[in-house]
Structure formats: C-alpha cells, structure tokens
C-alpha cells in the first residue's frame, strides 16, 4: 500500500475502528517502526519522531499533561532552548485558547484540551499534521469548529494534514483526498483505496447546498466503497 500527503491538502484516512488507522499514524509519525516498508518526509527516511511532523492524538486527556498549565504544555514543544512566548501566544490565539493558557487541564473542557494539543502541535511550525480521530469525543459544534480549523490550517499555512477518522461525514466534509482503509483479516494487513476531490467538490457546492443531494451522493459512494468486500479492493 502507498499513502501520500502533499503540502496544503487535507487527506483523510477513513476506516472502521480497529482496522489499523492509529497504528498507521504512529508509524507515519515515527513513533512506531513498521515491520516492513518505509516512511519518507520530503525524501528523508523517517525512523523516529521528526520535527516537521506533529501528531494530535484522539485521547486528549492522556496527551495533555495534567501537571502543567496549558502554556507549559505548549512550551514543551519548543524544546529545551530559549522560549519565544510570542510564538506560543500566536499559536494559542490562532486556536482561540489564549485566555486559557494559565489554566490547568483539569479545569478545561474536552474541546479546550484538544485545542491545547493542537496549539502544541502547531507551535513547532510543522509542515505535516497527523490528527488521529481528533473530534471523536467532541460535541457536534466543536467537531464542526475543529474541522473548519483543520481545513483553514491546510489552506493558510500550507500544512499537509492527515485526518484519521471513522466518520464518513467529516471525511467527506473536509478532505481533498480520501484513503479508505479496510482490514484484510485473511492476509493480516491494511488495505487502502484512494479517492480524490471530495472536500473541494463539497466546498464548491457552497454552505447552502451541503445538505443537498450531491453531498448525499458522495456519502453513499464512500459508504458503498468502504463496505465492499475486501476481495474487491485494489491490492487484495
């Protein structure tokens, strides 16, 4: 299988729970060595965490350290050298958490903690952002805000974003390209199928038409592909 993330695009990895999406994110993020195959970032083989790649984890309660304030959590991403607090403030302002920087995670809501995690991921100015089901524990409004922020980051900062999700709606809503993932139990491997142009096609419809038939057709198409038998998938 092959997966590519280009600068300035949101790529979704869509698949059911347990199919290996998070494992793939850990591999791409340099946090786990693959049994076979290679990961390259701008042509450089990636075997350990690499600063141009930042990961946002699904479990924000574990990823945001409770013994530090929101600011200190973000400061950690600046390494051991001198800290440029203006960069931290800028990242926090972009995510809308500047008033929360002095607070401890125990006093923050789930969405606020997730945003602290995103600010931490952004402060090191990565070129690629891997987001592992970042909205799965958030309510509808926060999910929408997060998805729009993701899309905005890709466009304004030229970030290459890999959004891992099991939610067809949000994948169709935000992605430029989609990778559908399926676990091939027989061959014990992950199958990927690439589909292009979803988010752009939806965005072109405009806000008023997002609930229209076309959106429904895209949803149906992805649903049908995702649940087609593994034997019908490329590479199976």
């Amino acid at each position: 299988m092959s997966l590519t993330i280009n600068a300035g695009e949101v790529v979704s990895l869509l698949g059911s729970s347990g199919c290996g999406k998070s494992t793939l994110v850990r591999i791409v993020g340099g946090l786990l060595r693959p049994d076979a195959g290679d990961v390259f970032c701008d042509g450089v083989p990636l075997e350990q965490p690499y600063s141009p790649v930042s990961v946002v984890f699904q479990d924000y309660d574990a990823a945001v350290f409770p013994w530090f304030t929101a600011r200190k959590n973000i400061v950690l991403a600046c390494g051991g050298g001198s800290i440029d607090h203006s960069k931290i403030d800028a990242a926090a302002a972009q995510i809308g958490i500047q008033p929360l920087l002095t607070r401890y995670p125990s006093t923050l809501s789930g969405g606020e903690k997730q945003r602290v995690q995103i600010a931490r991921a952004l402060v090191s100015e990565p070129r690629y952002l891997l987001m592992d089901e970042p909205s799965s524990s958030l309510d509808l409004e926060l999910r929408k805000t997060l998805l729009e922020l993701t899309s905005d980051l890709a466009q304004s900062k030229g970030l290459g974003v890999l959004l891992v999700t099991h939610n067809i709606d949000e994948a169709v809503y935000v992605s430029d390209r989609l990778y559908l993932a399926k676990r091939d139990d027989h061959a014990r491997r992950l199958l990927l199928m690439e589909r292009n142009g979803y988010g752009r096609r939806v965005a072109d419809l405009g806000q008023a038409h997002r609930d229209a038939d076309h959106y429904g057709q895209l949803y149906e198409e992805v649903y049908r592909l995702l649940f087609s038998p593994a034997a019908a998938w490329p590479g199976s």
């Binding site: 993020g29 990823a63 350290f65 090191s124």
Partner: protein, 261 residues
C-alpha cells in the same frame, strides 16, 4: 469533604478514647500487675526519663531513619527508572531482585557486624536501613513507569526534549502516584529498621531502640511502655509530615486528580 483540622481532631479523639479504655481496663482487671501499666503511668514516666534525654534519642533515631530513607529513595527511583527503561537490564536484574527482595534486613545484621567496612559503626545501621527501605521505592517506580499510558508516551516522545527532559517533565510526574506510595511505605520501614537495628546491633549508645533495650534490661516496665508510646508517637508524626509534604507536590496532586485518587 472533611478538612485536615477535622481529620486531626477525629484522630486525636479516637486515640484519647483508646487510651481511656486502656486506662480503665488496666485499673479494673490488672490493678497490681507489674507487666501491664495504665496509660497515665506511661505518660508519667516521661519526666522521669528526662525530656532532654528523650529528645536526644528521638533525634538520633530519626536522623538514622531519614538518612537511610533519602539514600534508599534516590537509589530506588534511579534504579527503577533505569530498569524500567532498558528491557535487557530488567531481564538481567529481575531474577536477582526477586531473589533478594524476600530476604529480611534483620537477617543481615550478623553479617553487617562481621564485614570490616561496616562493623559496629553507623555504616551498619545505614546499610540495614537502606537495604530494607529501597524495595518499595524501587517497585513503586517500576510499576509507575511500566504502566505509563501509551498515548501520553507517544505524546512526549514526539516533542523535542532531551532524555532528561522527558524523565523530568513526563516520566516522574506520570509515575508519581506509584512512586509516592512506595516512598510512604519506605518511610515507615526506614523508621522500623532504625529502631530494630538499634535494638539488635548495639553499635551506638543512643537512639530509641537502644533506649528501649536499656530500660528493658533494667526491668523498668513502665519506662518501656512510656518509650513505646514515644516510638509510636514519633512514627505517627513522621507519617503525618510526609502526608503534608506529599500534598505540596503539584505533580502528584494533578495526577491523583486525573486518576481520581
């Protein structure tokens, strides 16, 4: 939630009630016994034994216990971090640890007196206390580090921190509840071993253990009871001080709040 002052008040009231029961029971059932003395008589021995002398014995024992505790705590955390970090080291050291752990410290007292470097000196006390105290700290650290949440670990590993930075900013706070449980147990053990070593080793003329032995040798039963009361009181205060200190550690409070401890 009960405040600390209320908790202290309840504890004092319960102890006072138990003391009153003891006093009444002895006066009713064993009024003329030499071996069982009423609570008031225990307290009455303190001025006779001398507050100055008692303070010197307490100071000596607490110093020995604390020195052993601090050395064991530092060694236990350091070795625990190293073993938990390197699986090969764990594979090599685990059988040795499992073999040595059940060996009681007191069994080493005869050996301590025979080894020329230790002998009948302060070093023997320290050796016995550190040996017995290190285990709960070591195992607390091992358990704490081994049970770190995978997402939290991935999260810190992707940040541009040095190895020391990761240990300081993540491993120690994450493992803090287990480490502090180990430290709390270790503190009690260090105090128990300090008194046991003083009782059995006899390398020093002072310390609560030695004082207790001297009183017992002189047949001063009331004095022995009075001294036991002091031993218990000092242990209770040490534990209380540790709990207060523990409450000041922000890392620990945050982790305990997170895990609902």
């Amino acid at each position: 939630m009960i405040s600390r002052a209320k908790k202290l008040l309840v504890a004092v009231a319960v102890i006072a009630f138990a003391a009153a029961i003891w006093e009444l029971s002895v006066r009713m059932f064993w009024p003329s016994s030499r071996f069982i003395v009423p609570f008031s008589q225990m307290l009455a021995t303190w001025p006779r034994l001398g507050f100055g002398a008692i303070a010197v014995h307490i100071g000596e024992t607490v110093y020995r216990a604390m020195l052993g505790f601090v050395i064991a705590a530092m060694l236990g955390i350091l070795v625990g971090l190293l073993i938990a970090r390197w699986r090969t080291l764990e594979a090599i050291t685990r059988p040795i640890i499992d073999f040595l752990r059940p060996l009681p410290s007191s069994a080493l007292i005869p050996l301590a007196t025979l080894v020329p470097v230790l002998g009948l000196t302060e070093r023997s006390y320290l050796f016995i206390i550190v040996y017995g105290t290190i285990w709960p700290v070591l195992f607390g650290t091992l358990v704490g580090v081994e049970h770190v949440n995978q997402t939290a670990l991935d999260s810190i590993n992707q940040l541009p921190l040095s190895r020391f930075g990761r240990i300081w900013n993540f491993t120690l706070p994450e493992a803090a509840p287990e480490i502090f449980t180990g430290l709390r147990i270790a503190l009690s053990i260090s105090y128990i071993l300090a008194i046991s070593a003083e009782l059995l080793l006899g390398a020093s003329k002072s310390g609560l253990g030695r004082f207790l032995q001297t009183l017992a040798d002189g047949g001063d039963y009331a004095g022995v009871y009075g001294c036991i009361l002091i031993v218990a009181l000092v242990g209770w205060i040490l534990n209380g001080l540790f709990r207060i200190g523990e409450g000041k550690v922000g890392w620990l409070r945050a982790r305990q709040a997170e895990i609902g401890g």
